[in-house]
Symmetry: C2
Subunit: 346 residues, 2 copies
């Protein structure tokens, strides 16, 4: 098993991280310091204001995050809302509701609005989130959705709390959504029962709150960019390094089949993105005794995939005892990518 | 002076109010009742949650709300943010901050991001709002901005509180932005000093809080759709009628000049939209003694333009004592309109 070479997986026009650089540029220069009522500002999965109100937004743009020939309107809405709600999971927030901003293309605005709206409403219902408002416009181009999520997070779990010697865990199995995208790109038609991870991803809201209630979660993030990229966000925010133990990564069976080789499967699991599982760091040993109850409670694997070090960035170790090498990682970047893909927490 | 016939001013493909019907469809069917933590749900300028956190979003779509050949990137950003911040003014909220979702077209993403970001930052700074986060994507079509505003509103003023016999007042002068759009549509190049109302509209945040602090404001809305349409929103939300006294409407001098006739000027002032002034209802006599201090404090007119009745809808009265007739009003509708225009509160 060799180190996956993620860096060559995508051609970037603006260079790696252009998306994040632009966000940073947008966020610089306002000159308004964060007021006392802001507990968490830019850079985490949610902003947190007041007495613990978590807020995030998530864009879904046609032909960037989804294609209308791949997804029915309802699935487009469901996915967009689930991706946004996943940002609430990332900080262990309890959903309150969501606002929906939608720009509808001229070709079939009513049909689209209805289907997309039903999908959003279904995702909201599944997450216990009410619909709080929104804005609608026509669009002279693509269908654009911006889903704004609002939740209660009196004790938000942040990306920035990881400490050296923490263990790194993930929920679920990784790479399913990326495998479906790969199949669709190759002109295959995945069976409907396999497409559920892609069409109706489940934000891990209850799971996140259970974990935060049952143990000391130092840092958490939802997997929208792929484990390699999102572990990198935790590492950067916390000023630590993350070592991913490649033989421990819970690769989804569909990713194993679609990736063909072990490397191919790992690439889907590490860089594919849009799994909306959780990645968290906890003190060493803290989760071992809880793993079984978590599995029973949620019918979902909970897997230790690595550890936190006092270095910087993301590292990989093919198996226990093998050499640890830096991951040449280029994070998924919507600006750079020409392929329709989705998901990025605020 | 005759009643302006606003109904024929726009050709509607989906019929009047399609935008609002679609929002309603989106908001129906979630099946999740509003939780206790929601104080104000859909249908007002902001949702209000928790201990008084007001949240709204506002879309700005290229070639629907603005044209890039009419506005520099910084003005596009400033306008988009000001329109969103105006929703905070409408409920008399104190701004905390904003989140920015932006889909950048492929042709010049970095230049656009920088200019638009500077404009947003300037509007945020002018309103005392910090930048709290956001999301960035590429767009295969138009530039799309969704600005999410967050503020403190322990005592939000709503659209639904108007009572019969209230007076209806507006801040500022109306029709300037619509006059600029008219000139641009006709191929004219308005002088830079005249374009300020269009390029850097000022959300009336301090004015709204002053009014709410100094008198009993029953209902308030910001003028994004035009006074006729926004008075209609107050009337509908409050279950009352609003009579607009046409000879009292403070028409902006530029609208007077651009509209050519009295009717043309009134049409710009009543139906033009995007003035981002405030319309409020107060008990009869409540504002008369405060009008002068308001003018001195803000260097801005405050004008009584009508009254609330126990009928329904919006009515007009050409002058005192003249017959009151129903306004055949068709609200501005982004879905129906083919012209680039902006603004709609959530």
């Amino acid at each position: 098993m060799t180190t996956p070479k993620l860096a060559d997986a995508r051609s970037a026009r603006l260079g790696a991280g252009a998306e994040f650089d632009l966000i940073r540029k947008l966020l610089e220069g306002s000159g308004v310091p964060l007021p006392d009522s802001v507990r968490v500002g830019p850079g985490d999965d949610c902003a947190v204001v007041g007495d613990g109100i978590a807020i995030s937004c998530d864009l879904s743009v046609e032909d960037v995050h989804f294609r209308r020939d791949w997804l029915e309107p309802e699935a487009i809405g469901y996915r967009a809302a689930a991706a946004a709600l996943s940002d609430l999971a990332a900080v262990a927030a309890e959903p309150i509701g969501l606002l929906v901003a939608v720009a509808l293309p001229d070709d079939e605005p009513e049909e689209l609005a209805l289907g997309v709206g039903q999908g959003i409403a279904a995702a909201a219902r599944d997450a216990g989130a009410a619909l709080l408002g929104g804005d609608v416009s026509r669009s002279p181009g693509p269908l654009v959705l911006d889903i704004i999520v609002v939740g209660k997070a009196p004790n938000p779990v942040l990306r920035s709390g990881a400490r050296p010697n923490d263990e790194v865990w993930v929920t679920g199995r990784l790479g399913c959504s990326a495998a479906i995208v790969r199949q669709l790109e190759q002109g295959e038609r995945p069976a409907p029962e396999m497409r559920e991870c892609f069409e109706r991803p489940r934000p891990r809201i209850a799971e996140a709150r259970w974990l935060a209630a049952h143990t000391e979660v130092h840092a958490m993030i939802d997997l929208s960019d792929g484990l390699a990229g999102d572990a990198g966000h935790i590492a950067a925010a916390s000023g630590v390094g993350v070592i991913l133990e490649l033989d421990r990564i819970p690769v989804h069976p569909l990713a194993t089949r679609t990736g063909r080789t072990t490397d191919g499967a790992l690439r889907l699991a590490l860089a594919g993105g849009e799994d909306y599982e959780l990645c968290l760091t906890v003190p060493a040993g803290a989760l071992a005794s809880l793993e079984d109850s978590f599995r029973r409670q949620f019918d979902l694997p909970l897997t230790r995939v690595g550890r936190v070090t006092d270095s910087q960035g993301v590292w990989v170790q093919p198996s226990e005892g093998a050499p640890v090498t830096p991951l040449a990682f280029r994070g998924f970047d919507h600006l750079a990518s020409r392929k329709p893909r989705s998901g990025q927490g605020s």
